[in-house]
């Protein structure tokens, strides 16, 4: 009894915080979806409107959703393809080198996110290092304001979020398990797949969630590296709220992003729950 009460008290600050700053605004957003933008830019609530839903088609939002999801998917995929082997590599290093590598990975976090993204702008602009390299193979003058630059920027920012959880789960796998797999006729490839990889899946799932979700709602990176012509869900939403003063449509798009995230997380956790059976 008392233990339960204590537990509730421990949860209280979090519950209050989330109620005020997450749950209540979510209700506002939900209400705004059924409002209507008046000529002056104010939102009218005198009855239930469905303007935002029809605008979804009028403003061609579906291709934007499409593009954002596909981009987030590829960013996550690239992060995984690059991140998993790298996490595996770090695990095999000596203890000193291991922590040194982890330190190197976390250095970018010490730098301001905006300035890091702006420095990518330099790299992909007309005389930028990356543009120069890519132009040796393709005929391009500048990579700035392309989807390629956006993907590159996102992979750069979110890669550590893939590497770290995978590394942690790999680190927890005992070497003796690989020995017993080998002892039970598994060649090195099978031992890796059936033991190492399967046991690292919780890390992979955490990495995928931590990469996919921010990529889907990304705003600053598409804004700086993608330019005004390239629309992603993040900057489209901001556009609706700030420039177009179309809060109902902005709210609807926010909800759509939220639903995609819930759907993605749900899918992954379902997969995580089933894989052991």
């Amino acid at each position: 009894m008392t233990r339960n009460k204590l537990n509730n008290i421990l949860g209280l600050p979090g519950i209050i915080f989330l109620s005020i700053f997450f749950f209540t605004p979510s209700l506002f957003i939900f209400r705004y979806i059924f409002g209507s933008r008046t000529r002056t830019g104010k939102t009218s609530f005198d009855k239930i409107y469905f303007d935002s839903f029809s605008q979804l088609l009028d403003f061609n939002v579906v291709p934007i959703i499409n593009k954002s999801v596909v981009t987030a998917f590829f960013v996550t995929l690239i992060c995984f393809i690059v991140g998993y082997p790298f996490a595996y590599y770090i695990k095999k290093l000596s203890t000193t080198m291991k922590y040194f590598s982890l330190f190197l990975i976390s250095i970018p976090f010490l730098t301001n996110f905006l300035s890091r993204t702006y420095s990518w702008k330099i790299l992909v602009s007309k005389n930028g290092l990356i543009t120069k390299y890519v132009s040796m193979f393709y005929d391009v003058s500048s990579l700035l304001f392309t989807d390629f630059a956006v993907v590159l920027g996102m992979v750069y920012v979110y890669l550590p979020f893939m590497i770290l959880p995978i590394f942690t789960s790999l680190e927890n796998i005992e070497d003796s398990l690989l020995e017993s797999a080998k002892d039970l006729y598994a060649n090195p490839f099978k031992a890796f797949y059936y033991v190492t990889f399967k046991l690292s899946l919780p890390g992979v799932i955490a990495g995928v969630v931590l990469t996919f979700i921010p990529s889907l709602g990304a705003y600053i990176i598409p804004q700086i590296l993608g330019g005004s012509k390239s629309m992603y869900l993040g900057n489209f939403t901001v556009l609706q709220f700030i420039q177009a003063s179309n809060w109902p449509l902005g709210s609807l798009v926010s909800l759509i992003i939220l639903l995609f995230m819930v759907f993605a997380i749900n899918l992954l956790f379902k997969f995580e729950g089933q894989r052991n059976l």
């Binding site: 005992e174 017993s180 002892d183 006729y185 598994a186 060649n187 059936y194 399967k198 046991l199 052991n276």
Partner: protein
């Protein structure tokens, strides 16, 4: 004779030390063979070399007359029961047990019938759908044994499989493992530091110390006729005295003459096991026994037996007696006579290894 396993002059050195030095031995088909020694004596290294998890620095290893030095671990016809169980935490008990068959792509029918066979030997029926962490230590070890056994290996390797379990359970599993081994006739190499375990279970025991095998014999010979000081000391808890043998008499600082049955002369140690010594309150004179006088110093009551520490000529002799009804327990400080058969006084000369 057919040998299931043969070591020929196998050595393994690690960067800092020698793990095993010039080891040779043979294990017959169907034998229960134990490697017994204190921790760090190299017994686990031998097991890992058989499994292919370590490479010998020199020497050859044969399984069924076939040289296996260069065969990858996953292609060797051996399976290991590890001390730490090493069960796959993400798989159920059933999936753990059939892992070796599934990896080799056995079809479902074969897997099912093999599983049934193993379950008949090792009772795990109620646990098949559980995860290893839901089982007790003893159950986990049963799963580990089943997981190895299902593959019907040429040689089954067991690395201190009962080391982490409590005494009662250990004794029960000793019986269980032994009866499984007897019914399956699988050649088994069993690593342990527990002498009673090795004595109770093995057909043959190799006693190891500091990377070398000192003696290979059946349990009885090993206990009754050890050929070297280490084995004499390691098995049981003998009273040891250092001195010289001269004309079938042992002479030392403590004893003027203890009769022995060896005809050889020279510096030697004698070993008198606590359980062969009897005691009484009168002197015993017989040409077949040694008899010394002493004073009872301590009596350790162990329940089913007693350890009596007797001080004799400025030294101590420990005797142990079954606690049965006709045993008259002496008092501490009482004078008693100790006597034992002359031919049971075991002698190991200093020049014996």
């Amino acid at each position: 004779m057919t040998y299931a396993l043969k070591f020929e002059n196998v050595s393994k050195s690690f960067s800092t030390s020698d793990a095993i030095k010039d080891i040779s031995f043979e294990v017959e088909k169907g034998e229960f063979f134990s490697l017994l020694g204190p921790s760090g004596c190299g017994k686990t290294t031998i097991l890992r070399i058989i499994a292919g998890l370590e490479q010998p620095t020199s020497g050859d290893v044969y399984i069924n007359e076939q040289l296996i030095n260069d065969i990858e671990p996953h292609l060797r016809p051996v399976n290991t029961v590890f001390q730490s169980y090493s069960l796959f935490p993400h798989l159920t008990v059933k999936e753990n047990i059939i892992f070796g068959l599934k990896i080799r792509k056995y079809d479902k029918k074969e897997i099912d019938s093999s599983l049934e066979e193993v379950i008949a030997l090792i009772d795990l029926k109620d646990h098949l759908k559980r995860k290893p962490h839901q089982l007790s230590g003893g159950e986990q070890q049963r799963v580990a044994i089943a997981r190895a056994l299902i593959n019907k290996p040429e040689v089954l390797l067991m690395d201190e499989p009962l080391g982490a379990l409590d005494l009662k359970l250990r004794e029960r599993l000793q019986v269980e493992i032994k009866s499984i081994q007897e019914s399956t006739k699988i050649t088994t190499i069993y690593v342990t530091h527990d002498q009673t375990e090795a004595l109770a279970m093995s057909d043959k025991i190799a006693v190891m110390s500091k990377g070398e095998i000192l003696q290979v014999d059946d349990p009885e010979t090993l206990y009754e006729k050890p050929t070297n000081k280490f084995t004499s000391n390691f098995l049981g808890n003998p009273n040891v005295f250092k001195g010289v043998i001269k004309n079938e008499k042992f002479i030392s600082d403590e004893f003027e003459e203890i009769a022995v049955s060896n005809t050889k002369n020279g510096p030697a140690s004698i070993f008198i096991r606590p359980e062969i010594i009897s005691f009484g309150f009168n002197k015993v004179t017989s040409p077949n026994v040694n008899c010394v006088e002493g004073v009872v110093e301590h009596i350790l009551y162990r329940g089913s037996w007693l350890d009596v520490i007797v001080s004799v000529n400025n030294t101590k002799i420990e005797i142990s007696k079954e606690n049965n009804f006709d045993l008259s327990i002496p008092d501490e400080g009482e004078k008693i006579y100790l006597y034992w058969y002359i031919n049971k006084t075991w002698v190991v000369f200093d020049d014996q290894k």
